[in-house]
Structure formats: C-alpha cells, structure tokens
C-alpha cells in the first residue's frame, strides 16, 4: 500500500467533510479516518489452514451545532457516502440536548505538529514467506516434547496503515504505523487430559520479533508444564501475577481513573487524585512518544500533543486519564488521553522471578486468568485463574480451576514487589507483581 497516497486521500475526505459540515450548519466538526491493509496466514498440522488478505477503511465524523452533538461513521469513503455521513451527523445534532462540556479542544491546546515516532516498518512478506514462518513456528512446538501431540495452529500476520485526524480549528495530523506478529497454540496431552497454551511475539518492526521457532517452542513448553494440574484447597495466600497477566491489574487501575468512569461515578477511585493508592515502592508512568512503541502516538484523539507523565508516583496517584470532554465534565484539564493510554510502564522493585518466589514463600503463581469478574464501581474482584503452587520459594505443581478474589483498592495497596522480568509485548509492560494476600477459592 502506498501510505502517502492513502494519507492524501484521507486528508481530502476530511477537508470535504469539514467543508460540508460547515455548509450544513455545524459550528465545529472533527473527523477521524483510517486506512490499512494486511496479510494473515495460519497453519495447522503442517498444512496451510487460512490465507486472509485484510483491508480496512473507516471514517467517523462528529459535528457540533452550538453545544449539541451528532456522530456518524462509514466504511465507504466515496464522496457520496461521506456526504450522507455528514448529513446524518448534523441531523442527529438537531435532536441531542445541549451539553456545555461538548466541543473541540481550545485551538491553543492542539498539537503544533505530528512527530515521526518511527512506527512504520512494512514487512516485505508474501503469503508463501508467511506460511513458511508459521510452519517453522509450529514445527518447533510439535518437536518440543513427546506429550505435544498436536497444535492448535500457528499464525503470522502483518498489517500497516495510516490514521488521520482533522478538525475545524484547522488541525490536521497523520500517523502511519505497522504491526506484525507471530503466534502459536500448542496442545499437550497425557492421561490427565489436554492443556493448551498460546505464545506470541508482536511489534512494529518485523526484525525485532522473536524467532518463529522460539515462539513455537515456548508455547509447547508452557502447555507441557500445565499437564497434571490439580485443584488446591481454599486459602488466603500471597498471589504472584506473572508478567504476562500483571498488566491486567494496571489495566484495572486505568479503568478506575479514566474520566468516563469518574464523571459517571462508576469507579471505586473517585476523589483519589493526590492520595496514596499503592505502596511507595510503586511508580507507573506513560511514555506515549516512545520511538517504535506498540501504542505510541504524538497526538491523541482530540488532537492534543501527548506527553510523558507519572500516573502513580511512589504510590501516590498523580494523574487521572482524560480527554477533553471528560476533563470538562470533571472541571479539569485534559491529560491528552483521548483514545486511551499509550505505553505504560511500572518501575521494577529489583527482584528476579526466582527471588519473588522466595519472597512469596508459599502461595499461588498465576500465569493465566479467565473471565471478567471485576466490578469497577466497588472494586470487587473475582476471576478464574491457573498457575503453579509455590512452597518455600520452590515451584511445586500446576494448579487449575481456582478463583482469586479481593477488592482492587486493597490489592493495589498490597502490591509488595514488581519483578525485573518485564513482558515487553503489549501496551502495558510490567514485571511479575506480588500481592501479599488474596483469597484463593478451590476445593
């Protein structure tokens, strides 16, 4: 795909839509549009299973007539479709109630220009190359262990595109980006039954991905280790969230301090700004302009320049997560987080995984979570879990079919260590997190 050409076309769409909106009586308008394409292949049992070519375009406009608002979107970027979308948004704005908090960001708050964050690295990969990589990945998994008798497939995908945002203050920003991944699910089997495990590597730059064989091997090893999992008795013990699931705790924090949940009073962390929400050993920060970062963006969904910030500084909550609208609802300033958080990190407290095992002594090391049992209003937390039983600092046996429960406000204060074993694959990158006490429900 020629991204410069696509970007130009999207910019034309935006210009036309903004002009049209103004003609139809909008006092302000903003448009987000995107275009991308990709390739995704999957293999299973040493054979190709699917080859998919993806191509997505989208256009979404929000118009304001005074303080009332209407939104519309279309996947068809023809002139006619865009005209219809603008008219639909205007029509809706005729019916919605005035909302003093609605409207674009003040012009002086808008980013002065979009930065190149080095996010666009196309992978020169045709379907034959992709299939070969996926086969390598699966083969490494299948030959890992006699108890690996089948795979649930390996896949390779690569996509790239451009997203643009423009508004009637004259702001226009564009960002290009690519995303590539290799993943694999292996199934281990013995007398105790079947266990499946998935592993993947992903990022903006193909050459930085893990080797396909490493990924298949890792998925297989993880599945084999799960065989013979037992249920444990109900107990109160320390729980160590492995690095790949610990990010979910940070995700819950972000949910609770997000403007939308705060102004709807749907959070257990109302009025928590400036208070100690975690112990002093914990600092969590956002690095939105990281070069080649998985979630990097130089401007947010409102056109504001993103900036690096400490969200939790030595345990104290220093920032909510807001866009322009939710900030106005809360009587505050936007934190340039319209569209979410970008590249969160938690500082490690210095221990390796083994050191965390010894620190924990006896407890549950959780490597996978199931279900959505989190109540944002109360902080009550109860999720399905599996992992390993740790005794005297040593890994004992795999554990299955238990739940871990507590209240997030308490769990956050009970974080006693964050490991050095950071999982570098996602938007939230943290090491294993030790919570000093939770209720584990089992037999």
């Amino acid at each position: 795909m020629n991204v410069e050409e696509e970007q130009k076309q999207l910019q034309d769409c935006i210009d036309r839509a903004l002009t049209e909106a103004s003609l139809l009586g909008a006092t302000q308008a903003e448009v987000a549009a995107s275009s991308g394409e990709g390739l995704s292949v999957s293999v299973r049992s040493a054979e190709v299973e699917t080859v998919e070519f993806t191509k997505n375009r989208g256009f979404a406009i929000t118009v304001y007539t005074g303080h009332s608002k209407g939104s519309s979107s279309t996947s068809d970027l023809s002139l006619e479709a865009i005209r219809r979308a603008v008219a639909a948004a205007i029509d809706i704005a005729h019916y919605t109630a005035d909302d003093e908090c609605s409207g674009l960001a003040a012009p002086e708050l808008l980013a002065s220009d979009a930065l190149d964050l080095d996010l666009y690295h196309p992978w020169d990969l045709d379907s034959t190359d992709a299939v070969r990589l996926a086969l390598d990945c699966e083969q490494a998994g299948l030959s890992n262990h006699p108890n690996i008798k089948k795979s649930d497939g390996a896949s390779v995908s690569s996509s790239g595109g451009v997203r643009v945002y423009g508004n009637s203050h004259g702001f226009f920003g564009a960002a290009t980006g690519t995303s590539h991944s290799i993943g694999c699910s292996m199934i281990a089997e013995n007398d105790s039954g079947m266990e499946r495990s998935h592993w993947f590597s992903g990022g903006r730059v193909a050459s930085a991905l893990d080797e396909a064989a490493f990924i298949g091997d890792k998925a297989a090893s993880r599945a084999v280790k799960r065989l013979g999992a037992r249920k444990i008795v109900t107990c109160d013990v320390p729980v160590l969230y492995s690095a790949e699931v610990a990010g979910s705790l940070v995700g819950h924090l972000i949910g609770a301090i997000s403007g939308g949940n705060l102004f709807r009073k749907s959070s257990f962390m109302l009025d928590s700004l400036g208070t100690a929400v975690m112990p002093p050993i914990v600092s969590i920060y956002e690095l939105p302009q990281l070069l080649q970062g998985n979630a990097s963006a130089s401007f947010d969904g409102d056109g504001l320049a993103t900036y690096e910030k400490k969200i939790v500084n030595q345990g104290t909550l220093e920032s909510y997560i807001m866009g322009v609208y939710s900030a106005r609802r809360l009587g505050m300033q936007s934190t340039a987080n319209a569209g979410g958080v970008r590249n969160l990190r938690a500082a490690s407290t210095g221990q390796s995984l083994e050191q965390l095992f010894s620190e924990m002594g006896t407890g549950l090391y959780v490597t996978s979570l199931m279900g959505q049992g989190v109540n944002m209003v109360t902080g009550d937390y109860s999720r399905g879990a599996e992992g390993f039983w740790i005794e005297n600092g040593e890994l004992q046996y795999p554990v299955k079919e238990v739940t871990i429960a507590g209240n997030l406000a308490d769990m956050f204060l009970d974080i006693s260590a964050i490991g050095t074993d950071t999982d570098t694959r996602g938007n939230v990158q943290v090491g294993s997190m030790l919570i000093s006490k939770m209720k584990v429900a089992g037999a």
Binding site: K69, S127, V402
Partner: protein
Amino acid sequence: MTSFETATSHLLTPSGLSIGDLDGLLSGAMVKGVDFADLYFQRIFSEGWVLEDGKVKDGSHSIGGGVGVRSICGDKTGFSYSDAINAEAIRKASAAAGSIAKYLSAGRSVGAIPVIGKANVELYSSINPLDSLSRKEKIDLLSRVDAEARQADSRIIEVTVSLVGNWQAILVAASDGTLATDIRPMVRLNVSVILEQAGRRERGSSGGGGRYGYEYFDDELAKGFAREAVRMAQVNMDAVDAPAGTMPVVLGPGWPGVLLHEAVGHGLEGDFNRKGSSTFSGRVGEQVASPLCTVVDDGTMLNRRGSLSVDDEGVVSQKTVLIENGILNGYMQDKLNAKLMGEASTGNGRRESYAHLPMPRMTNTYMLAGKDDPQDIISSVKNGLYAVNFGGGQVDITSGKFVFSASEAYLIEDGKVTRPVKGATLIGNGPEAMNRISAVGHDLGLDNGVGVCGKNGQSVPVGVGQPTLKIDELTVGGTA
C-alpha cells in the same frame, strides 16, 4: 417488495450488478483446485442513542458493508474482502482468495460441497428498526426510562440508558448453488443505575431486545427494565461478601443459561471437534452430562436475538439437539467443518461481517425443562449459593475449564434463600459440572436478548436459556 428484492436492491443494484452476474464473479474465486467458493454481500445501517445525566447528549449513526470472498480447497481457506461493492473490487478479492489453490497438496481435494436446503422461513420482519420510531420518539423513550428509574429510589445518583438498533441485508452466493438473502433487524435497550448510600455505591443494570423494531419497547417493557436495574442495585447495596470454596450451586432460570453456552456450547462447535482440540472431541454417543440434561441450539425461534432465517452461508437455520438425556448427540456445524467430518451443516455458519470468515457458532442455546419444582430444588440444598443473574463468561475448550460471573446471588442456608452476596466468579470443568446437575426445574426461561458471544475476535449476537437447575459442586470465587 419481497425480502429478496429488498436485499438485492441494497446489495447489487447500486453497483449495477444483478443476480445473473454472480456466477461470473464466483468463477474468479473458483480457480483450478478450488472445491468451493462463496460471496457474502452485506450492508448494515446502525444507530445508537445514549442518555446520561438526564439528557440525550449523544447520538451516532453508521453505515457499513462490503463483500467477502472465500475459496476453499480441502481444509484450506483463502479469504479476501472489499468495503466497496463493485465488479472490479470483487474480481480483485476473488483472485486473492483463489490464490489458496497454490497450497493444495496432492490428493487432498474433497470435491464439491453439496447444496443444502434452500427454503426460507422469515423469523423476523424486514422492517428497518431505525425507521420504526421518529428521532423524537426515541429520545422520549430514553427519557421515560430515565424518569422511571429515578423515581424508583431516592438513592440514585446516576442513570445511563442506551438504545441501539441496526438493520442489515445480506446475500450469499456459493459455487454449490446456494443463493440466499436475509434481512436482519436488531434492537436493544439497556439501563444502568448507580445507587449511593453512606458512601457505598452499587450498580444495577438491565435490558433486552431482539430482532424487532423499536415498537417492541412498549412502555411496560421499557419501564420494567428501569425498575429491574434499580432492584438489582438495591440488592447489591445489601450484599455481603460471597463465600469462597466448592459448594452446591442453584442457578435461576433464563440468563444463567450462559452456563450452557460456556460449559458445553463452545466445546460442541464443529471446528474444535474436527481438529480434536475440544474436551468433547470424539465423544458423540457418550454420556457427557447428567441424564437430566437435554441441550439444544435453536436458530429458528421467532424474533430472538440469536435467531437467523438463514445462516451466513445461506443454510436454513435449524434446531439441533446437542445433548439428549445426557448423551452427546452431535456438533454445531458450518459447511467447511461439516464436509470435512462427513456431516451436514446444521445452519450454524456465522460471521461477524463480510470482513470475517464464517465459523460454527451458537444461535440460541438452552436446556429443556425438567420436572422439578424450583422451590423444592432450593430447599434440597443445606448450604450453598443461589445465583440468578450473571455477567459474562469464558471457556478453555481444550481443558474444559469455564468461568461465569454472578452479578446477583444469594446464600442458601438450611434450604432457604437468605442474604444477597457480592458478585463472584464461578469456575468449573464443563463435562464435570454437567454431570453434577442433580435437579432440573420445570421453569424453562430464556434471556431478555442482550447476549454477545466472542470467538477468535469475532462477535455475534446469541441467546441463552435454561430452567432452574442444581449443580452439586461448583467452585465459588468469593472472599468470605
């Protein structure tokens, strides 16, 4: 206009295409070595209105659609799509999809996939819900629900009401001779309230919908959702910590049927069983649940959220018995997996959109009524949990482990329902939990029409249902 004409007028006519062109377009995807190809045309109009803080401040409208092209050779699938519907775009997509033929291994072709069914009973109206009320009426509806909720309890500090509707036209043309269309309406109304008392805040929510126009939400039904959301928040306000550990669990009728969706439904989808990755693989004819259990998947129910006149492969939907008196009867199939397993499609081939590949998916999945009196079932439990409402669930079909999260539950103490408890996740193993069902009530209930099922990143609307039932042992993930 017939529903067929309505579909073609939205999907083909605007680009100057006609039914007569479809064979020619399909041939681009039916290159040498390809056993089967299909085209899936879709146009969808949707809207949403949200009331928050007493006012409808937000409204949105969206138009989407395109055409997906799939080529199958043996067990291999090539897929491509276009968001523009025109001959040129379809030709390009077909060539891309057809490129799968180059991976054909010698002797693996399974030959043509046979045509299955064609009759088309319409299970819902083809009227566009978006036009079924004026904009002012939609806003009034939301305001009435808001007012009803606010007057139900003085402790209410927040009410959010949303109304969403969509209307879609689809057309499937396949190399096996399938030519089918469907016009699918869908509406949904949701209410969420927050109560505050002495610094404690609790949420309650309710809602419903189905394949109707908005007129479905008459005053009684809409206000009923508001009162139900408030009632649930009131119950939660009094809830104590849920118990932790393994105990007898009684599930109420209706929405708790999400149990079946997770514990057995996904594990009985054809793709997992063809690949042998499900805990139910190769077990047709075996006892996989207590003899009290008969579980069906039924896409043919009138106006229900999970219903389909035809599935997304153009196969007429049907009622499929999955488990009969505890014995595994069969799987849910789409064309590809049915063919590879030597079975027939059960009309469960579904896809989120033209930009996604079809897979075997559930429609409306429920357990048939038993003989027990619900009150007797509760009385038979010395100490346990009575759970009547749930949030979502999840399953690992390979190990069979599943979870679902109770959002309204009570302790059973000495055979009586006593205190409400906070939400907690319930976890079990599908076949084990199903075998521990020791009582099934005569009170089969279906959900209100809010279910969304996710699989491989694709969401589709579904329904669930069940009578009151008792599971002798299930792990409850509370804190007490």
